[in-house]
């Protein structure tokens, strides 16, 4: 063996000398003992095996589990940041904010840890969260490890809570929706729930475009928690789109105030009003009373939530008479000067009597509308086949759920013409036996306010004027407008709808409510649909007063003055120049009331 050579070579003679024993190192007797050869081989093998094991391990880590390890490594310094997206704002047509989301925080707790903190801190916490301490303790008395104490807490309160330094208490970022216009605008705008999902109104209708898509990004953070490198977006966040509604805050306020005053003054159950733009078909105002505050919905009732303009139907009553007359004029069966003898104030149809309030004698078509004579309209309707009438209703959108991007519109009810019995057809001519929503009725008046064409309605701002669909001729529309204007005169049924300085026109309607399938003798719906100003129509205003319990209950008595109030303010607010020099309004002492 080569290894043994140094011990036996000749160099040993000149080798080192063991100092203590005066003897050469190589001569040491210890070295004379020869170890068995296998021992060195074992050592060699063990070392080799150890290196081999290391090599295999390295190969394993590098080759086989590299992905896993790199992931583990990254998770030590990389962070995924959640990037929340904000829900879009809702604005009125002039850019005033109607709904906006602001960041707030939800306070949550690990009950066990929080309960361990000193009682005075808990008392302070309860005070800041605006809840009794007992309620806070009740919430904390839970087996779960995660309990929401309160959601949507505003940031300044959060700052105070964080100062308390209660262990086990934490916050989570979320958004809260604020509605600055409150109860005035809520039936138009709607509201969202705590999860930021639209529940009512436009918030629900436009949920898809309003809601944002939250994103996330990967970053590298340093020791101080600062982001030092951006590894790019995993998902790009997209904020929700802002929404500009057709509503005009000022008009909305005017409509709301008018309807609120009307409900209080006439001791009614409810009221509703809608204002349409004649040129664009935009809904400029939509007011309901009773209403609710969307910012505080703890005591919300269905009655407050109801949107009577869109989701409620009622029998329109006399408001529909101009439609019957328009069809007669359009088909040349009558002219504005055709006369009808409506005496003796009633007419018998298959054994049933249809009445007027007075015996009006011989009247022209215009006179029939002005006095709202049921007998006259029935006589006109007898000249028109039911099928044509039904087609007219359908063209106007009665009996079909309108599609204008607002949730839950009522279709109303118009039965197929083949099943109309003569008495039913006669009733329909003056608005009984069919039902419509107030918005459908207001829209139908488009054909009179415009020159006989109908345009779609919109709840969002319209930038270009829509193209209408011709339903009656401009000539007929003009003739009906003249009649509608005569209704709003001291001699008409809507003398109380007159507006100082402006020419307005419209038609009153009074209908008995259906209670348990029968017409009630004590509950009525008074309504009015009007056009203003008459010289150059700008607004269609529809007003409905539900179940007035005062001295008057007719459309002319309750809805017409509400219309006058609303129209006067709306025209003034929109700087529309007066088109009449009449500034003193004459309302007869005993204004003409229409019959049923």
């Amino acid at each position: 063996m080569k290894r043994d050579k140094p011990f036996t070579s000749g160099r040993a003679a000149t080798g080192r000398v063991a100092a203590s024993k005066g003897m050469a190192f190589s001569k040491s007797p210890v070295l004379a003992v020869r170890l068995p050869d296998w021992r060195s081989r074992v050592v060699l093998f063990v070392l080799f095996a150890a290196f081999a094991a290391l090599g295999l391990r390295a190969l394993w880590l590098q080759g086989m589990s590299t992905g896993f390890l790199q992931k583990q490594g990254k998770s030590r310094y990389e962070r995924t940041l959640e990037l929340p997206a904000t829900r879009g704002k809702i604005m009125d047509r002039n850019g005033q904010v109607l709904a906006s989301s602001l960041p707030v925080k939800a306070v949550w707790a690990i009950p066990e840890d929080v309960l361990a903190s000193p009682p005075e801190k808990l008392r302070e916490l309860a005070r800041l969260l605006e809840m009794p301490e007992s309620e806070l303790r009740k919430k904390l008395d839970s087996d779960r490890t995660f309990v929401y104490l309160k959601r949507q807490v505003e940031m300044d309160v959060i700052a105070k809570i964080e100062k308390l330094k209660i262990s086990g208490l934490d916050t989570r970022k979320e958004y809260k929706r604020f509605y600055p216009q409150g109860e005035v605008m809520t039936h138009m705008v709607g509201f969202t729930n705590v999860e930021d999902v639209g529940q009512e109104g436009m918030e629900l209708a436009q949920q898809k475009s309003l809601v944002g898509v939250p994103g996330s990004r990967r970053v590298i953070k340093d020791r101080l928690g600062r982001i030092v490198e951006d590894l790019g977006f995993s998902r790009e966040p997209h904020d929700g789109k802002d929404l500009t509604l057709s509503v005009d805050s000022k008009l909305q306020y005017i409509a709301f105030t008018s309807i609120k005053n009307a409900v209080e003054k006439f001791n009614a159950k409810a009221g509703a009003a809608v204002v349409l733009d004649v040129h664009t078909g935009e809904v400029l105002a939509l007011a309901n009373y009773p209403t609710y505050n969307p910012n505080d919905r703890t005591k919300l009732t269905g009655e407050q939530l109801r949107n009577r303009v869109i989701t409620d139907t009622y029998e329109p009553g006399s408001i529909i008479k101009p439609v019957t007359v328009a069809l007669g004029l359009e088909t040349k069966r009558i002219t504005p000067n055709t006369t009808f003898d409506v005496s003796p104030g009633y007419i018998m149809i298959t054994g049933k009597r249809i009445r007027d309030t007075h015996d009006y004698g011989v009247r022209t078509v215009g006179g029939i509308i002005q006095k709202s004579s049921n007998v006259g309209v029935v006589k006109i309707s007898q000249l028109i086949p039911p099928q044509e009438m039904w087609e007219m209703y359908t063209k106007l959108g009665f009996g079909q759920a309108p599609r204008f991007g607002f949730p839950g519109p009522a279709a109303g009810r118009v039965r197929p013409w083949k099943s109309w019995r003569p008495i039913e057809y006669a009733n329909m001519a003056f608005g009984h036996g069919l039902s419509v929503s107030l918005l459908q009725m207001a829209r139908a008046y488009m054909i009179f306010a415009r020159n006989g064409d109908m345009i779609p309605l919109s709840f969002v701002k319209v930038n270009e004027e829509p193209v209408g669909q011709q339903i009656i001729s401009p000539k007929t529309a003009g003739q009906v407008r003249t009649m509608l204007e005569s209704v709003v005169s001291p001699e008409g049924t809507a003398s109380r709808a007159q507006v100082a300085g402006y020419r307005v026109g419209g038609k009153t309607g009074t209908a008995q409510k259906l209670v348990n399938g029968h017409y009630s003798q004590t509950s009525y719906v008074g309504s009015f649909v009007g056009i203003a100003p008459m010289s150059k129509p700008r607004f269609i205003i529809a007003v409905m007063v539900d179940d007035p319990k005062g001295a008057v209950h007719t459309g002319g008595g309750v809805a017409a003055p509400t219309f006058a109030d609303l129209a006067a303010n709306a025209l003034r607010a929109h700087n529309i120049p007066p088109d009449s020099s009449v500034t003193d309004i004459i309302i007869p002492e005993n204004p003409l009331e229409e019959g049923l």
Binding site: L102, Q181, Y253, Y502
Partner: protein, 90 residues
């Protein structure tokens, strides 16, 4: 000759290394600054939304009418006491 080239290359390498370190440092700094400014922009967005909300709340027609009627003693305009001036007319 060979030695000189080596020295020059070594010096170049060191210089490169140092500029890389510097560039890296600068980029991190700029990135942190960017982050800070983005955060600021988000905060400003929130502030703006808050101010818009305040404007809408304070500019509520209800409030304006209330103040006009009670504090300023104003009354609504009626056509009866309005003088209309028509442009071009004498």
């Amino acid at each position: 000759m060979n030695n000189k080239v080596n020295i020059v290359l070594a010096a170049g390498l060191i210089a490169c290394g140092l500029t890389l370190v510097n560039a890296r440092y600068q980029s991190r700094h700029l990135f942190i600054e960017l982050e800070r400014l983005q955060q600021q922009s988000r905060q400003l967005d929130i502030d703006w939304a808050q101010l818009q909300l305040d404007q809408s709340t304070l500019g509520k027609n209800e409030r304006i009418e209330q103040i006009a009627r009670t504090e300023l003693n104003m009354t609504p305009l009626t056509p009866a006491r309005t003088q209309y001036l028509t442009e071009g007319a004498r």
